[in-house]
Amino acid sequence: MSGTPETVLATHELTAFYGDFQALFGIDVHVGRGETVAIIGANGAGKSTFLRSVVGQLPSEREQVTHEGKPIGHLQAHEIVRRGIALVPEGRLLFPSLSVEENLRLGAYGKRAGPWKIERVHELFPVLRERRATPGTALSGGEQQMCAIGRALMSNPTLLLCDELSLGLAPVIIRQIYAVLPVIVSEGTTIVVVEQDINQALDVADRVYCFQEGRVSLQGRPDDLSREDVATAYFGV
């Protein structure tokens, strides 16, 4: 590693389709090691679609997505996780048949080595230890989000993708959850958060991409972006 940070994730002219409907039109995103990058944008801008394409839930071309310099666009979701990219999906999507602890342990299914073990996740979110035997879906929204983050961390990712962490949560809970992101980064994990809440995103991110109608409409460091720029890029007015 020299002066410029090593690229963990890069997309090149990434496109995505739902049937005939094109959702992404040539997205170029670069994420350096140790960065926290936020992707903001209105509903339907293609933020979640972008994450789903990166983790292989939507098909893309081999060279459209690279992870640590290697093409992964052609790989399937389970192969991509095993290479060190984990997704905290929108709506948490915990497994209802599994207890909190089983949900967490399943995150480690791919047996990647790294700092994240169940004890470490319990340290980060003590409530998950107290409620280990509860079905995952019996937790409160905030606890479910913690469990979903913990589950993703259990795969020891080099890159953690978070989709709408704040969705449907009370502000105090959102602050709690965002407070752990620096701890995760300190363990050497790179983070991409997708967020509708602009202020939250600008607070936490080293760099920001704004999506609009499937294209990157603005990018830069939060300090370099004026409110007007962001508003224009966000709403397109």
Binding site: V55, Q76, H78, E79, Y109, G110
Partner: protein
Amino acid sequence: MEWLDAIIQGVLLGGLYALFATGLSLIFGVMRLVNIAHGDLIVLAAFLGLAMVNGTGVHPLISLVVIVPVMAAIGYALQRGILNLTLGRDILPPLLVTFGLSIIIQNVLLEVFSADTQRLKAGALETASIAIGEQIAIGWFPLIVFLSAVGVIAALQLVLFRTRLGTAFRATSDDHETAALMGIDNRHVFALAMALALAVVALAGTFMAIRTNFSPAIGPARLLYAFEAVIIGGLGSLWGTLAGGVILGVAQAIGAKFHPGGQILAGHVAFLIVLVLRPNGLFPRTRDR
């Protein structure tokens, strides 16, 4: 005393029905696949056992050492090569493909083994029994079948709730897209579930072949018993499946007491009564989502 005997024999017969049904219940639970060829796969296992016993002269129970892994391998290949391709949001393709498979298996068996009825001979084990009192005798073989069913279901429960693979089965059953995000290869997990199901089918087919006459055409009737046991017990519950098998077995045994031809009918009537009173079965675990 005669009635008590009928009930005991029915319970033991229920063990065989539970073995018929366990594989069906497992694969429905894991991948929502209704396998119409399940009964024919039971018959296929019986014929494989027959070929091996005739070819080598080993005891049918010894032949299981080979038949169980062979059927498991067939299950893995079948799921990986064909059935995985049929799974999706639409439940019709797997139904049609397994229906076709059922016809193919029946016709291949007919071609290779002819339509003659066959029987696996288990020697003294077929008639050995324990006498309880003057009028009741429990056959060793039905007892072995019943205990095997209990053992198989206990073992599957351990796999489902105490192992990494079992957790993967349950997660995949909940939501296979999110399961893939955990690093689970659904195609492989589904194939392992089918392998496990057909390992149980191998046991069921061999026991059936020792207990009764069989021919290439009897698969669909075994499928029906298996379905009835699963539905009576409640979808997704393996112990429920055992209970379903036992209820079916007892109903048949009691029906046979009333009338020699009443056996099969009584089983179906018991099934209908449960279906009317408890449409979700007695011990449902699976909720429709």
